[in-house]
C-alpha cells in the first residue's frame, strides 16, 4: 500500500461499465465484490490505483475495476508491475494472477518480485486448474487430477503457493477463499503491509474443478476445518475445542484437544505474524490431518525494493551535476583547431 490521503468512495465507484465475462457462478465474482468492497474501506484513490494482471480467467480482473488497469501477457505481470513501481512508487499496485499464470509460466517472475520485496498486493487465485484453456491440470492440481491433458490422472506433485511465496522471501503471506466473509480483512492486512504482500485465494472453478475446496470451504462444518489466524491470539478452531501446538520432540505442529477452553494448559501456540519459523510450519501444514490455515500467516515488513532504488539514486546523485554536455565530453578528449592538430 502507499501513504495517501484517504478518498471517499463507494463500492459503485469501483465498478466499470464492462460486462463481466466469467462463467455464471464462478468464484471470481465473489473475489471481485470483496475487492470492490475493500477498496472504499482503505480510502483508496481510483486514480492512483493500478490493477495489473497476466493471462487467464483471473487476469480479466482489471477490466472490471474502475481504476487504472493493465492486462499484460502470460506470467509476466510481476515484471510489468515492477517497472510501474520503479517508475512511480506512489502508485498503489494490485497484482492479479492465478495458479497457472503465477506458478507455471510466471513462476520465475513471482519468485523475484517477492524476493525483491516490491511494494504491491499480489492476489493469486488458486483454483487448481486451467480454466481459460478449458480444463487442463495446473501446477497446483492434486496428484491424480483427471483432465483433458491427463486423462489417466496427473502424475506430478503440486506446488503449494504459500510455501512457494515464503520460500521466495515473501514478508507477507495471507490466505483466504472466494466466498469467505473474512477475505476483505486479509486484503486489508495485505494492503497495510509495506512490501510485496502475497495472498493465496482459493477460488472455485465451477466448470472444470467444481467444489474442489469444499472440504474446508463449504459452509457446513467449516468451523471444524478452518483455522483463522489472528496475531496475538491462540491458534484455536472447532469452536475453541481444538488448537495447534508444537510437538517439541518432533519439531512439528500437532493438533491438541482444548478442555474447558483452557488453551494454555493444552500449550496452544499464540500466533505471532512476525515469527518466520512458525510461518514456515503453517504454510507446510497439510490439510486433512490439520485444518486449513487462513488469514495472515506471516507479516514482518522490511524495506521495499523501490524505496532502496530511490534511496540509492538520491545518494549517488548527490552533489553530481546532470550536465549532458559534460557527459558527452567525458574521457580523454582532444581538440582539432583549424587544419592543424593540437593534441591535449
Amino acid at each position: 500500500m502507499n501513504d495517501m490521503t484517504p478518498i471517499e468512495t463507494t463500492l459503485k465507484d469501483w465498478e466499470t461499465d464492462q460486462e463481466v465475462r466469467w462463467c455464471p457462478g464462478c468464484g471470481d465474482y465473489a473475489i471481485l465484490k470483496a475487492v470492490q468492497r475493500t477498496l472504499p474501506q482503505l480510502g483508496a484513490d481510483p486514480a492512483k490505483t493500478v490493477f495489473i494482471s497476466g493471462i487467464g480467467c483471473s487476469s480479466r480482473f482489471p477490466y472490471y475495476i474502475e481504476s487504472y488497469g493493465f492486462h499484460t501477457i502470460h506470467g509476466r505481470a510481476p515484471a510489468v508491475a515492477t517497472g510501474v513501481k520503479l517508475a512511480n512508487p506512489d502508485l498503489d499496485v494490485w497484482l492479479v494472477t492465478g495458479d497457472g499464470d503465477g506458478l507455471s509460466i510466471g513462476g520465475n517472475h513471482l519468485m523475484h518480485v517477492l524476493r525483491r520485496n516490491v511494494n504491491m498486493q499480489i492476489m493469486l487465485f488458486n483454483n487448481e486448474i486451467y480454466g481459460l484453456t478449458k480444463g487442463q491440470y495446473s501446477p497446483t492440481s492434486r496428484e491424480g487430477t483427471q483432465s483433458p491433458s491427463t486423462p489417466y490422472g496427473s502424475i506430478d506433485h503440486p506446488a503449494r503457493p504459500a510455501a512457494f511465496a515464503l520460500g521466495s522471501g515473501a514478508r507477507f503471506v495471507g490466505r483466504g477463499f472466494d466466498v469467505s466473509k473474512k477475505l476483505p480483512d486479509v486484503l486489508k492486512a495485505a494492503h497495510a503491509h509495506q512490501g510485496a504482500a502475497f495472498v493465496e485465494i482459493f477460488q472455485n472453478c465451477i466448470v472444470y474443478n467444481k467444489d474442489v475446496f469444499d472440504a474446508f470451504a463449504a459452509p457446513k462444518g467449516a468451523e471444524d476445518r478452518q483455522l483463522w489466524l489472528e496475531h496475538g491470539e491462540p491458534m484455536l478452531f472447532a469452536g475453541g475445542t481444538q488448537g495447534i501446538a508444537l510437538d517439541r520432540a518432533k519439531l512439528q505442529l500437532k493438533v491438541v484437544d482444548v478442555v474447558d477452553g483452557d488453551w494454555q494448559a493444552a500449550d496452544v501456540i499464540v500466533h505471532d505474524t512476525t515469527n518466520r519459523s512458525i510461518a514456515h510450519m503453517l504454510v507446510e501444514m497439510p490439510f486433512g490431518p490439520f485444518p486449513m490455515a487462513l488469514g495472515v500467516l506471516y507479516d514482518d515488513p522490511r524495506p521495499t525494493f523501490e524505496a532502496a532504488v530511490m534511496e540509492e539514486k538520491a545518494r549517488v546523485s548527490e552533489g553530481k551535476e546532470a550536465n549532458l554536455a559534460k557527459l558527452l565530453a567525458k574521457g580523454q578528449t582532444w581538440t582539432v583547431d583549424g587544419t592543424a592538430q593540437d593534441p591535449v
Binding site: T72, V84, A87, N88, N108, L324, L327, T339
Partner: protein, 647 residues
C-alpha cells in the same frame, strides 16, 4: 568513421609512404591485448590520425593458456586519411605466443612485419598451438619480416627493480609491447604514464613497473632500429573539422544517445536489462548515470527486462531494454504487447552470430528478419540500424523520438562489431539538439468521454499516466475497440485496428534516402545497412577510382524504409546487397520494391574486408560487361563464405 571525406578518386596508399597502417595485437586472453589496443587507440587519436578498431576476443573469459581458442586480438587501422574500417590485412602483427601467431598469421599482408615473443615459443606452447616445429626457426615465415626476440625476458629484466614475482612481472609484457609500438609510430608516452599512475593509484609499485616496461619497450625500438626490419613510421594527421573529439565505442554511444534522447523528450529513462554478450556494456554504462534521471534494473531474465520497461513506459517514463539475438527472441511476445497497447519503448539489439547461442563474441547482421518480422500477428515496428559507433548516438536519439511521437516500440540494431569497436567522435553540443518535450494527456479528450485509443494526425494514441485524476482506463494485449480501447473481437474492428497499427508505422516521417557515394543512377548500386558501411564505402570509393560506375547507398531506416528508396534503386541496372547474413535485407528489398537485388553474403563472424568487396564489385562488372581479365579472386582462406552471386 568519416570526420572528413576525401576526394573519392584518391588511390590506395603505397606501402613505403603509408596513408594508413593496420596493426594487430594478439595474445592469450589473459595477456591484456584489449587494454594494449585501447591505449594504443587513444594515443593514435591524440596524434590526430583517423582510426577504426576491431576487438576480437574469445567467448571464454579465461580460456586455458596458450590454446588456439584462447587467443584475444585487437586490430586498429589508422591513417592520415578517412578511415571507415578496422582494415583488411595487418601490416604489423604482434604475436605474444605461438597460438596467437597461428590464428592470425594468414591475415598478415605479405611483406608485413611479425613481432613475436620467443620467450613463449616453448615446446609446451608450440604443442598447444599444434605446431610440429617452431615456425620462427623452420623458414615457414619467409614471406614476412620477422622480428623475434624474448619479450618475456626483456620485461622481467625491466621490472626487476620493483621486486615483483615472476607472474606479476610477466603481466607487464603488454606494456612492453605497447612501448615498442609507441616508438614505431613516434608517439609520446606521457599520456600512457599518466593513465597507468591513475589506474594503479592504490599500488604505485605496479604503476611504476608497468611504466618501466613501457619505457623499456620504447628503448628497445630505438636500439633495434640499427639492425633488422623494425623501422619508424610517421603518419600525418587527418585534416578534420575543428572541434572537440573523443573516442567512443558503440555501447557507450547507445548509453549516451539514450540519455540524450530522454533529456530532449524531458522524460526520465528506465532501462530494464539482463546480462548478455555483447549488449551488457550498455547496462554497465547506464548504471553509472543515475544523476541523469536514469533507473537501471537488472531483471531476472530477458522477458522480465522488457516487461519492466513496458511497465515503466506505461507509468510515464521512457522504457528501454537491450539484448542480443537470443534475448531478443525471448522478448518477442512482450514486443507484441507494446505494439498492441501502443506504448513507447526502445529495444536495442546488439546482433551477434546465430542461431541459438551461436557466436556470442562475433559479429553478424542476421537478426534483420527477426527485427522486421519476428513477432506473432501483424506486428509492425520501426527498425533503425546504426552504421558505426559514432552513428549509434544519433540513431538512439531518433529511436527515442519515434517511440514517443508515434507511441510504438522501436528496435535499434547495432552489432558486436559496433558495440566493441571504437572510433573518434566529434563531441556534439547538446544545445543544438531539437527538444521535443512530451505532453501527457491531462484531461478527457472527447468532451465528457475519455478515448484512450483516439489517434492524433500521426496515428498515435495519447499517453496517459496512471495517477492522472479522472482518466482511469484499462489496456491490455487483447484486441481493443477503435477509440475506446475496450475489448473488441469483432471482425470489422480487428480489421480497422490492424490497419491503424500498420498505417501508423508505415507513415512515420523519415528523411529521404540519399546516395552517400557516386551518382543517383547508373550501372551498379551497392546497398548496405549497419556496420558494413565502412568496408562498402571504401570498396566503392576504390572501385570508382578505377573508373567503375558504382554508387553506394546506405540505409539507416530498415522499417519503414525511406519513401524514395524504391525509385532510387530502380534507377540502377544492378543492385548488390552485401550483408553479414545469408541475404536478409536483399529479400526485404525485393519484396518491397520488386527490384532484382543480388546478395553478397558473409557469415564467418568477421566483418567484411574492403578487398573482398572490391573484388566482388570488380567481378560484377566483369560479368555484366563480359570483360576478360581484371578479375580479382577472393582469397578462399580468408573469405570462407563469401560469394558473389551473378545476375
Amino acid at each position: 568513421m568519416a570526420t572528413h571525406a576525401l576526394d573519392s578518386t584518391q588511390t590506395a596508399p603505397a606501402s613505403d609512404n603509408p596513408e594508413a597502417v593496420v596493426v594487430r595485437f594478439a595474445g592469450d586472453s589473459g595477456d591484456g591485448m584489449q587494454l594494449t589496443g585501447g591505449q594504443f587507440t587513444l594515443s593514435t587519436a591524440l596524434a590526430g590520425n583517423d582510426l577504426a578498431t576491431f576487438p576480437d576476443f574469445p567467448a571464454e573469459i579465461r580460456a586455458p593458456q596458450g590454446t588456439l581458442f584462447g587467443v584475444s586480438a585487437f586490430q586498429i587501422n589508422f591513417g592520415s586519411r578517412e578511415i571507415n574500417t578496422a582494415g583488411d590485412a595487418p601490416d604489423v602483427l604482434v604475436a605474444m605466443n605461438p597460438a596467437a601467431l597461428k590464428t592470425n598469421l594468414d591475415a598478415v599482408k605479405p611483406g608485413g612485419l611479425i613481432i613475436a615473443d620467443t620467450g613463449e615459443f616453448t615446446k609446451r606452447n608450440l604443442d598447444k598451438a599444434k605446431y610440429d616445429a617452431n615456425p620462427l626457426e623452420d623458414g615457414s615465415l619467409a614471406k614476412w619480416d620477422v622480428l623475434a626476440f624474448d619479450i618475456s625476458a626483456q620485461t622481467i629484466e625491466a621490472v626487476k627493480p620493483f621486486g615483483l614475482g615472476n607472474k606479476d612481472a610477466l603481466r607487464c609484457k603488454n606494456m612492453w609491447t605497447l612501448g615498442l609500438a609507441m616508438w614505431m609510430f613516434g608517439r609520446p608516452r606521457k599520456p600512457i604514464h599518466d593513465w597507468l599512475r591513475q589506474k594503479f593509484a592504490k599500488a604505485p609499485e605496479l604503476a611504476e613497473a608497468n611504466i618501466a616496461a613501457l619505457d623499456a619497450g620504447h628503448a628497445y625500438g630505438e636500439t633495434a632500429e640499427l639492425s633488422g626490419p623494425l623501422k619508424q613510421l610517421h603518419l600525418d594527421p587527418v585534416p578534420t573539422e575543428p572541434g572537440l573529439y573523443r573516442t567512443i565505442t558503440g555501447a557507450e554511444a547507445v548509453a549516451l544517445g539514450l540519455v540524450a534522447g530522454a533529456q530532449l523528450l524531458e522524460l526520465p529513462l528506465f532501462f530494464g536489462g539482463y546480462p548478455i554478450t555483447p549488449a551488457s556494456a550498455i547496462l554497465h554504462h547506464l548504471a553509472r548515470l543515475k544523476e541523469f534521471g536514469v533507473t537501471t534494473f537488472q531483471a531476472e531474465d530477458e522477458i522480465a527486462a522488457i516487461c519492466s520497461a513496458i511497465g515503466a513506459s506505461y507509468a510515464g517514463q521512457l522504457g528501454v531494454t537491450s539484448s542480443s539475438g537470443p534475448g531478443i527472441a525471448l522478448k518477442g511476445e512482450a514486443m507484441g504487447l507494446a505494439i498492441m497497447t501502443e506504448l513507447p519503448l526502445v529495444i536495442v539489439n546488439s546482433q551477434r552470430g546465430g542461431p541459438s547461442t551461436g557466436l556470442p563474441t562475433k559479429t553478424e547482421q542476421s537478426d534483420l528478419y527477426q527485427a522486421v518480422y519476428g513477432r506473432n500477428g501483424d506486428a509492425p515496428m520501426p527498425v533503425i540500424a546504426a552504421r558505426s559507433p559514432a552513428d549509434v548516438f544519433e540513431c538512439a536519439i531518433e529511436a527515442c523520438r519515434i517511440a514517443v511521437q508515434y507511441m510504438t516500440p522501436v528496435m535499434l540494431l547495432t552489432d558486436g562489431y559496433i558495440a566493441n569497436a571504437a572510433e573518434p567522435w566529434k563531441v556534439p553540443d547538446p544545445a543544438t539538439f531539437e527538444r521535443a518535450p512530451v505532453r501527457f494527456l491531462e484531461q478527457k479528450n472527447a468532451g465528457d468521454e475519455l478515448l484512450p485509443y483516439k489517434r492524433d494526425p500521426k496515428g498515435a494514441r495519447p499517453w496517459i499516466k496512471p495517477g492522472t485524476p479522472g482518466l482511469m482506463h484499462r489496456i491490455g494485449g487483447i484486441e481493443k475497440a477503435v477509440d475506446t480501447g475496450h475489448i473488441d473481437y469483432s471482425p470489422g474492428n480487428h480489421q480497422a485496428m490492424t490497419d491503424a497499427r500498420k498505417n501508423k508505422v508505415e507513415d512515420i516521417e523519415i528523411a529521404d534516402q540519399d546516395v552517400c557515394l557516386g551518382d543517383t543512377s547508373g550501372k551498379l548500386v551497392v546497398v548496405g545497412w549497419g556496420s558494413t558501411f565502412g568496408p562498402i564505402h571504401q570498396a566503392v570509393r576504390r572501385s570508382r577510382a578505377k573508373g567503375l560506375d558504382v554508387s553506394h547507398v546506405h540505409v539507416r531506416h530498415i522499417w519503414p524504409m525511406p519513401g524514395n528508396l524504391g525509385d532510387l534503386l530502380r534507377g540502377f541496372d544492378n543492385v548488390l546487397v552485401p550483408e553479414m547474413n545469408t541475404g536478409q535485407f536483399k529479400t526485404v528489398l525485393r519484396d518491397q520494391y520488386l527490384v532484382d537485388a543480388q546478395p553478397l553474403t558473409k557469415t564467418s563472424g568477421q566483418p567484411f574486408q574492403i578487398a573482398e568487396l572490391e573484388a566482388a564489385i570488380a567481378k560484377y562488372f566483369d560479368d555484366i560487361e563480359g570483360n576478360e581479365g581484371g578479375e580479382i579472386e577472393p582469397n578462399e582462406q580468408q573469405l570462407p563464405s563469401v560469394k558473389a552471386v551473378n545476375p
